[in-house]
Structure formats: structure tokens, C-alpha cells
């Protein structure tokens, strides 16, 4: 395969010389296509509207090394990240590579196939959907298409109900040098099937790395998917994620993304409606501090009539952290009777925090109900006083109010241990941030 010639910046170009050799003819095809597009794709910068608020120079200035040369450490003591409900339905990827030792599959009942993509080179769904559902055309997605080495594959036959939630655990190890991981996931839920997926990204050490998870989800007629995405990368990591879901007639897709880690996050969840009578959720909770940057650019694309969609995106910012939200809601011309809710609420705990909020509604149908709102505020002094007058210290009152603010977005997570884990994470954040730091 010819090497790409114009990938920017040069570091990606250099890495692209190490093309993975594994996979089927289909994979080779994906790589070739990605490379072709990469050659004519610009590396994003702040003059492009979509990247106006997010500075990518920390990425373009990092000397990433191919993972084989990065001096990665062994992953140890990782059992604590296993959720008990997924004791026999767990896929573990370390730096984007499948780990059979830690994975445990087979507890999902009839009609559910779970495994790593490279085990299914000629599976008809892989052939049909892999890389065909992504509609992103940016450098990062294309780079993943060029460099991915494996991924999670989840398939549910018609009428199959997964007996346990599936945990897709993405771990990133320590390393001598910065590296890039390219995790992938393909989920195909046939008619009337039902599955819960817990996707978790965890940085094990404090090293710099970049992960570019790309996931493709196909929800066929009357199927249900509950998708929880937890991002716990370390504070020197870059996390650029591209999850997209297609929803068919009478199907439901509910996704909850919790962003806690990474120095820089760019999350671009999308849901595309493929027929009438669908119900989908794209909720998010972002808790950031220090110099973290967390950017969510989402798309909810209503293409047919009768859809219910819901997006509650809540953000707590402390220190000098920076949150960006751009929520696009498209309602196409013939998509009548749409009921779409979008709300972006930002809580600023510090003087130096920054929030950019940009709801974006493009509605071409006339019989629709679209509510949207964006607020940026501090804790209400009246609420703080109320709790203080009931005996709580100011610090405790602020902690309770921040906790309560954040909690709303995770109460629909229906796997008990994950719900509890998220409550603990929220608690840990509010505890650590109840005394806003005044930075000079």
C-alpha cells in the first residue's frame, strides 16, 4: 500500500508508515479508502468554525511514537475496573488491542455474539457495516480507519436479549513515549433485540497518549440499546471520540456520556434517524478542573416523522478548565411531529473557568416541538443560604448543591454497579472541588 503524502501534521504522516498488516481484505479496503481521504483532508485549526473554541496545538505539538516503539508498560491491577454484572460479558482492550486473558465472554445467552473484530473477518455484518456507518470526514476518524488494529464486535440476532450488560473496557497503559490508540466498536442489534453496553476508557498511569475511539451502532426495528460511555483518561491524555448510531423504525437508543478525564476531550456523538417512530437520548455529564478542555459537538439528525429525542448536557467547570458545547439538532423538511428536547446547563465554580455554549437548531419542518436552552451560572447564593440555615457549613452546602446538579444526568443509568460507580465519581469530584480554588 502506498504511503499517504499529505497528512498533517507531519507526526501523523510519520505514524501512517506503520500500517497494520492484519485483518481481512475488507480491512485493507477500509485502510485504503481512509488513506485516500486523508490525503485531501486538512488538520483542523481554530479558523474552522467547528474548531473555533478548541485549540489542537497540544496535539499537533506532541511527538507521538508508534505504539510498538513507545515503551508501553504492562497493565496490572486492573480487576478493580471490572463491573460485577459483566462477569461473563467483558471485552478488554489495552491500548486498542484485544486482551484475551482479561476478557470474559459467553455469559450472554442465545443469539448474542460478542468478541473482537479480527475474529470475524468475513462476518456478513462486519462486511456490510464496518466503516460504512461513520459519516465523519475529519483527520482523526480517518486516521483511526487507517490504523485500527482490532475492535469490539457485538451482534444480537432477531429477538435476542442480552442477559447481562456488556462491558467494553478500554485501558491505556503507561509508556516511555506518547502513543496513539485507535479503538473501534461495531454494534448491530437486529429486530426486537435488547442490549446494554458499558464503554469505559481508563488511563492507568499519568503518561501522555491519544485515543481515538470510533464506534458504529446500528439499531434495527424495535431494538433497544442502552449505551453508557465513561471517559476516565488520565490528565495528560487526549480523547477524540466518534460514536454514531442509526435508529430504525420503533427502535430506541439511549446514550449517557460521562466525561471526567483527559487534558483535552473532543466528543462528537451523533444519532441519525432512519425511519419513523423512534426514541433516542444523547445525555452528557462533564466534570472538569485544572486546565482540562472538554468539547462536545453533537448531532441529532431527525429525518423522518414521529421522533422523541432528548439531550441534557450538564457541565461543572472549576479551576481554569474550559467546556465547549455545540448541540446540533436537524429536523428535515418532511420530518413532522418531532418532539425534541435539548438543554445545556453549565455550573461555573471558579473565576477562571470558561464555558462556550452553542445550541444550534436547524428546523425545516413546520409541525414540530423543539425546546432548547443553555444556561451558565454559579451556585445560587439563596440555595447556599437555605442549606446553611439548616446547619450545613458553606463548604458542605456547595458540595451538596454541586452533587445534586450533576446527579440528574446519571440517574437513568440502569446498571446498579455503574450507577454507584458514577455517584462515587461525582462525589469524589464535588468533594475535591467544594472549595473553589482562587487562581491568580
Amino acid at each position: 500500500m502506498a504511503h499517504p503524502t499529505r497528512i498533517e501534521p507531519s507526526i501523523l504522516h510519520k505514524l501512517a508508515k506503520h500500517l497494520p498488516e492484519n485483518g481481512s481484505a475488507r480491512w485493507t479496503n477500509v485502510r485504503q479508502k481512509s488513506m485516500q481521504q486523508l490525503n485531501s483532508t486538512q488538520f483542523p485549526h481554530k479558523k474552522i468554525e467547528e474548531w473555533r473554541f478548541t485549540d489542537l496545538r497540544p496535539i499537533s505539538r506532541t511527538e507521538f511514537t508508534h505504539i510498538n516503539d513507545a515503551g508501553t508498560y504492562k497493565a496490572s491491577d486492573i480487576e478493580k475496573y471490572f463491573i460485577p454484572e459483566s462477569d461473563r460479558s467483558r471485552l478488554v482492550f489495552i491500548n486498542g488491542r484485544y486482551n484475551e486473558t482479561y476478557s470474559s465472554i459467553g455469559g450472554l445467552g442465545k443469539g448474542v455474539t460478542v468478541g473482537n473484530l479480527s475474529r470475524f473477518p468475513d462476518d456478513e455484518n462486519v462486511l456490510e457495516y464496518l466503516n460504512n456507518l461513520v459519516n465523519y470526514d475529519d483527520v482523526f476518524t480517518l486516521f483511526n480507519g487507517l490504523m485500527f488494529e482490532d475492535g469490539a464486535y457485538i451482534h444480537l440476532k432477531e429477538g435476542a436479549k442480552a442477559e447481562a450488560p456488556i462491558q467494553v473496557l478500554n485501558l491505556y497503559t503507561g509508556s516511555e513515549k506518547p502513543f496513539i490508540a485507535n479503538p473501534r466498536m461495531l454494534v448491530v442489534a437486529e429486530e426486537d433485540s435488547d442490549v446494554t453496553i458499558i464503554e469505559d476508557h481508563i488511563g492507568l498511569e499519568e503518561n501522555s497518549y491519544m485515543t481515538i475511539p470510533v464506534s458504529e451502532v446500528k439499531v434495527k426495528q424495535r431494538a433497544h440499546i442502552h449505551h453508557v460511555r465513561i471517559q476516565r483518561d488520565n490528565e495528560n491524555a487526549f480523547h477524540i471520540s466518534r460514536p454514531i448510531a442509526y435508529v430504525e423504525k420503533n427502535s430506541e437508543y439511549h446514550s449517557y456520556t460521562i466525561t471526567l478525564g483527559a487534558k483535552l476531550t473532543r466528543n462528537e456523538p451523533r444519532v441519525v434517524q432512519e425511519d419513523e417512530e423512534v426514541d433516542f437520548t444523547l445525555d452528557g455529564l462533564v466534570l472538569i478542573d485544572g486546565e482540562q478542555v472538554a468539547d462536545t459537538h453533537s448531532v441529532m439528525d431527525h429525518r423522518f416523522s414521529h421522533a422523541n429525542s432528548h439531550q441534557l448536557h450538564k457541565v461543572v467547570v472549576n479551576g481554569k478548565a474550559h467546556s465547549i458545547f455545540n448541540g446540533k439538532i436537524f429536523v428535515r423538511r418532511d420530518a413532522q411531529k418531532i418532539d425534541s428536547f435539548q438543554e445545556n446547563r453549565n455550573l461555573l465554580l471558579s473565576y477562571d473557568g470558561l464555558v462556550n455554549a452553542k445550541p444550534q437548531l436547524e428546523i425545516f419542518a413546520d409541525d414540530v416541538l423543539c425546546s432548547h436552552g443553555a444556561t451558565v451560572g454559579q451556585l445560587d447564593p439563596e440555595e447556599v443560604f437555605y442549606l446553611q440555615s439548616r446547619g450545613m457549613t458553606e463548604e458542605k452546602a456547595k458540595e451538596v448543591l454541586t452533587y445534586a446538579f450533576a446527579l440528574e444526568t446519571i440517574e437513568n443509568v440502569k446498571v446498579d454497579s455503574v450507577h454507584k460507580l458514577l455517584i462515587d465519581e461525582v462525589y469524589r469530584y464535588t468533594k475535591a472541588n467544594s472549595n473553589p480554588k482562587v487562581t491568580a
Partner: protein
């Protein structure tokens, strides 16, 4: 128990004087009613006693059990036994009544040297108190005031008072927005909670509440001052004559209203 001496108060940073020399003494076991037209400073007085940070005391003092409380934070005042029932109780989504009250009860208990209660003990304790304000147990698991009707919010304030057992309770227009049945429930609750060791200050526009709770003293505030004090019959007189006949008292000594 509480002595307010020549209290002058401004809105923090604005320089508008709201209280212009309030004097008031409340003894243990007494019920006081403070009445007055809108904007007379009644609610401000209640908030300032509870320690609201929006206001600044420019002159005078508030003495509680022999010591000035001006330097105390709102939580410290609550620990000392003060309680304010809010005119507009605040909604706190995500925090249940039960959680808030257990937290409050135990913090106050710890600071007053009482025994803290574990969740089971607290559950028994709190259920008795529910009956006082005629509320169902599922009320405990609802987020504080969230989605409550106006009447439920007011009853919740009295319920909190019942649980926290303050030595001095200031009830800021707890009667407003209540229908006649709810008013009776709230008034009954307050009467049951009052005894010779604690004091209650009712802030109200209307004489109506005082049909149910008989005050020992009635004060009228106009223009940031207490212009007249008397017994329970003063409330009836106000009901009959309105506040106009007292307006002139607010400008005694040539001071502005």
C-alpha cells in the same frame, strides 16, 4: 433570649438602608407576631437574624443568649438553635428531604452535644414528626421542595422545624399562599411545637393566622422600624383600621420613613 438593639441594615454594597433602628426583645417561651405593610423590613429582619449574606449590619447589635451573633455564619446560628422558615423555600433537586434533614439534624445535634442518630433511628424519629404536619412518608424521599405546591413547601418548612427543634423559630410569612385547611394544619403544628422553653416569631401580613396561634406580643413595622408594640388585641385593631393610622409614627423625630 433574643435582643435586637438599634439595628441598622443595608443591602450589601448598595447603601440603601432597609432597617433604620429596630429594637425588639423576645423572651423564652413567648410568641411574637411582627406585622406591617409590604416593604416595611419584616422579612429583612428575619433574614438578618438568620445570617443572610446579602445584608450588612451598619449599626446596632443582635444579642442571642447574651452574646452577639453578628459574626456567626448562618450554619453556626442554626447550631445555636435559630431557625428561619423561608417565605420562598428553595428547591434543591437531587437532595431528598430525608437526606437533608438527617444531615441537618446530626450536624446540629453534634454541635449541641446531643446524640447523633443513625439512619434507622432517624427514620423512627422523623416519622413521628410527619404526623405533626399531616404528611405522608413518601414525602421524605422526594427532592427538597422540588415540584412541591406552594402549600407543600410551607408545610415542609414547619416539618423541618419539627425535626430540628429550634430554640427560636422565625416564620417568614408561613401563612401566605395557604388555603384554610392547610393554614389550620400549619398552625396546629406550630402550636404543638411551641412550649415554655422555645420562642416563635411569626411574620405575617394578615391577622388570619393569629386566629389560630395566639401571640403574647404584636409589633408593627413600618419604614424599617418597629413603630408600635402591644398585645394580641393590636392585631385586631390593625385588621380593622389598616396601617395608615400608624404611618405618622414612622417619621417621629423628623427622620425619613
Amino acid at each position: 433570649m433574643l435582643e435586637i438593639k438599634n439595628l441598622h441594615v443595608e443591602v450589601e454594597g448598595e447603601g440603601t438602608e432597609i432597617l433604620k433602628g429596630v429594637n425588639l426583645t423576645i423572651n423564652k417561651g413567648e410568641i411574637h407576631a411582627i406585622m406591617g405593610p409590604n416593604g416595611s423590613g419584616k422579612s429583612t429582619l428575619a433574614k438578618i437574624v438568620a445570617g443572610h449574606p446579602e445584608y450588612e449590619v451598619t449599626k446596632g447589635d443582635i444579642i442571642y443568649n447574651g452574646e452577639s451573633i453578628l459574626e456567626l455564619d448562618p450554619d453556626e446560628r442554626s447550631h445555636a438553635g435559630l431557625f428561619l422558615a423561608f417565605q420562598y423555600p428553595v428547591e434543591v433537586p437531587g437532595v431528598t428531604n430525608n437526606t437533608l434533614l438527617r444531615e441537618s439534624y446530626n450536624t446540629i445535634a453534634a454541635s449541641r452535644g446531643r446524640e447523633e442518630l443513625d439512619p434507622l433511628e432517624f427514620d423512627d424519629y422523623i416519622r413521628e414528626k410527619l404526623e405533626l404536619v399531616d404528611m405522608k412518608a413518601d414525602f421524605l424521599e422526594r427532592s427538597v421542595n422540588t415540584g412541591f405546591s406552594g402549600g407543600e413547601k410551607k408545610r415542609n418548612e414547619i416539618f423541618q422545624m419539627a425535626v430540628l427543634e429550634p430554640a427560636l423559630a422565625l416564620l417568614d410569612e408561613t401563612d401566605s399562599g395557604l388555603d384554610i385547611d392547610a393554614l389550620r394544619i400549619v398552625a396546629d403544628g406550630i402550636n404543638k411545637l411551641h412550649h415554655e422553653e422555645n420562642s416563635v416569631v411569626l411574620i405575617t401580613h394578615y391577622q388570619r393566622l393569629l386566629n389560630y396561634i395566639i401571640p403574647d406580643h404584636v409589633h408593627v413595622m413600618i419604614g424599617g422600624k418597629v413603630v408600635k408594640s402591644g398585645g394580641k388585641e393590636l392585631a385586631l385593631e390593625l385588621e380593622e383600621k389598616g396601617y395608615d393610622w400608624l404611618e405618622s409614627l414612622a417619621t417621629v423625630n423628623g427622620e425619613a420613613k
